[in-house]
């Protein structure tokens, strides 16, 4: 299983970026071989509109089936659902902390978006 975590930097020690569509990086973590890969989201950060939808396309390409992030807007949530990516909100601390929290079952799967678009 591949988990995507929004991050401010490129490593497992980087802080979780609470934004989804405009996160600086996505860390894609493979729970089987425990490998991690950083995916640049500069395009999402620069996008005028549609950053969330664009980010979902990126995660789908990376084969992620779960997302750990801070918040998520309505367009992104609709796209994540269609892409079959489970969403876990309220992740904080480092990327490694978020992965641990997810494995401990401390993050609950979201049933919908928790913020409106352009919330930051």
């Amino acid at each position: 299983m591949r988990i995507a975590i929004t991050a401010e930097g490129q490593t497992l020690a980087s802080p979780v970026d609470p934004r989804f569509g405009r996160a600086a990086w996505f860390i894609v973590y493979d729970t089987v071989d425990k490998s991690a890969r950083a995916v640049d989201n500069q395009r999402g950060q620069m996008a005028g509109q549609g950053a969330g939808v664009q980010a979902v396309e990126t995660l789908a390409r990376e084969g992620a089936t779960a997302l750990l992030t801070g918040h998520c807007g309505p367009n992104a949530f609709r796209a994540l659902s269609a892409a079959g990516i489970q969403v876990f909100l309220g992740a904080s601390g480092s990327v490694a902390d978020a992965i641990q929290a997810h494995q401990d079952g401390a993050l609950r799967a979201a049933a919908g978006n928790d913020v409106q678009g352009h919330w930051t």
């Binding site: 509109q49 549609g50 939808v53 396309e57 609709r78 796209a79 269609a82 892409a83 079959g84």
Partner: protein, 303 residues
């Protein structure tokens, strides 16, 4: 000199723009339109916050909805190829090996998805994003548009109000502030642009951005200093460096601000302003003539 490649001064299209918001574009536009005392069409192209009608109080003659064509997917015909999503630059239609998801508010209405779909599964349907109004107020024919709340895309509504721009008539365009797509869409095609600024560092900074934008668009311009006073040198120095004419100065006068706050024209609140606005028109005609930019409509006169 008319007929020698210059636009006929009686049918000039004059855009009133600025970099910074709140410098007085509408004040200049509505007072100029009224002071001219002759038939003029005023197009309020600031569809995100139109306000010329608040001062002119026109009688509304017509209104029409503005819509964009957005995709609608026929699930029976869709082959899940993803061709539509690959064609869309704006991520307004996306697929994950699934039926496409459409996000109408991200759609620019270009039709690329329908064109790319080999299965003919995409139908384009109107998505209303705003309204265009036209009306009359004395000799002024006013056209304005409103972008619906929550709609991010102003440009299609600006294009819709600009369809009322008629090359055979004197036309003033009250433009949106800034230097991005809405402003560029609004000023494009005009004969001359009046940049309204204020003598502050912020006013100067955004005047510089606006002047640079117009230079790239190859549009001649001049400057009106609003709330003119002791700091004018800031703007004067810039205009001298760039060779931009200062067309008018409107004094920093509390009576003008009070009238504005009540929706009353400055020329009705302060005596002696009507001739000043007529002088502004003459200055625009003169500057537009010196700019010597042939308008598209009179090019055939060279034959």
């Amino acid at each position: 000199m008319t007929g020698a490649g210059l636009p006929d001064k009686g049918t000039l299209h004059i855009a009133i723009a600025s970099g910074k918001g709140g410098t007085g574009k509408t004040t200049i536009a509505v007072n100029l339109a009224r002071a001219l005392d002759r038939p003029v069409r005023l197009i309020d192209a600031d569809v995100e916050e139109p306000n010329a009608h608040l001062f002119l109080k026109p009688e509304i003659r017509a209104r029409a909805e503005v819509s964009l064509l957005v995709p609608r997917v026929n699930a029976d015909l869709c082959t899940r190829s993803g061709d539509c999503a690959r064609a869309c630059r704006y991520h307004a239609i996306v697929t994950f090996g699934t039926l496409p998801l459409v996000f109408p508010e991200l759609c620019h209405g270009c039709g690329a998805c329908a064109w790319a779909c080999r299965a003919g599964a995409i139908e384009e349907v109107p998505h209303v994003i705003g309204t265009v109004y036209s009306g009359t107020a004395g000799l002024i024919e006013l056209v304005w548009g409103t972008l619906d709340i929550g709609q991010p895309m102003a440009v299609p509504v600006i294009r819709a109000v600009k369809r009322f721009a008629d090359r055979s008539r004197l036309t003033l365009l009250d433009c949106p502030p800034g230097t991005s797509c809405p402003m560029v869409t609004a000023v494009r095609g005009s004969d001359f642009v009046v940049l309204v600024t204020e003598p502050t560092p912020f006013g100067l900074h955004d005047l510089g951005l606006a002047a640079e934008t117009l230079q790239r668009l190859d549009l001649p311009c001049g400057v009106v200093i609003n709330r003119s006073g002791s700091a004018d040198r800031l703007i004067e120095r810039f205009c001298a460096e760039r060779g931009l004419p200062i067309l008018m100065r409107v004094a920093d006068d509390r009576r003008i601000a009070e009238a504005y706050s009540r929706g009353i024209l400055a020329i009705e609140a302060v005596e002696g302003l009507v001739p000043r606005f007529r002088d502004l028109y003459d200055a625009i005609v003169s500057a537009a003539g010196q700019a010597g930019r042939p308008s598209g409509d009179v090019l055939h006169a060279h034959v």
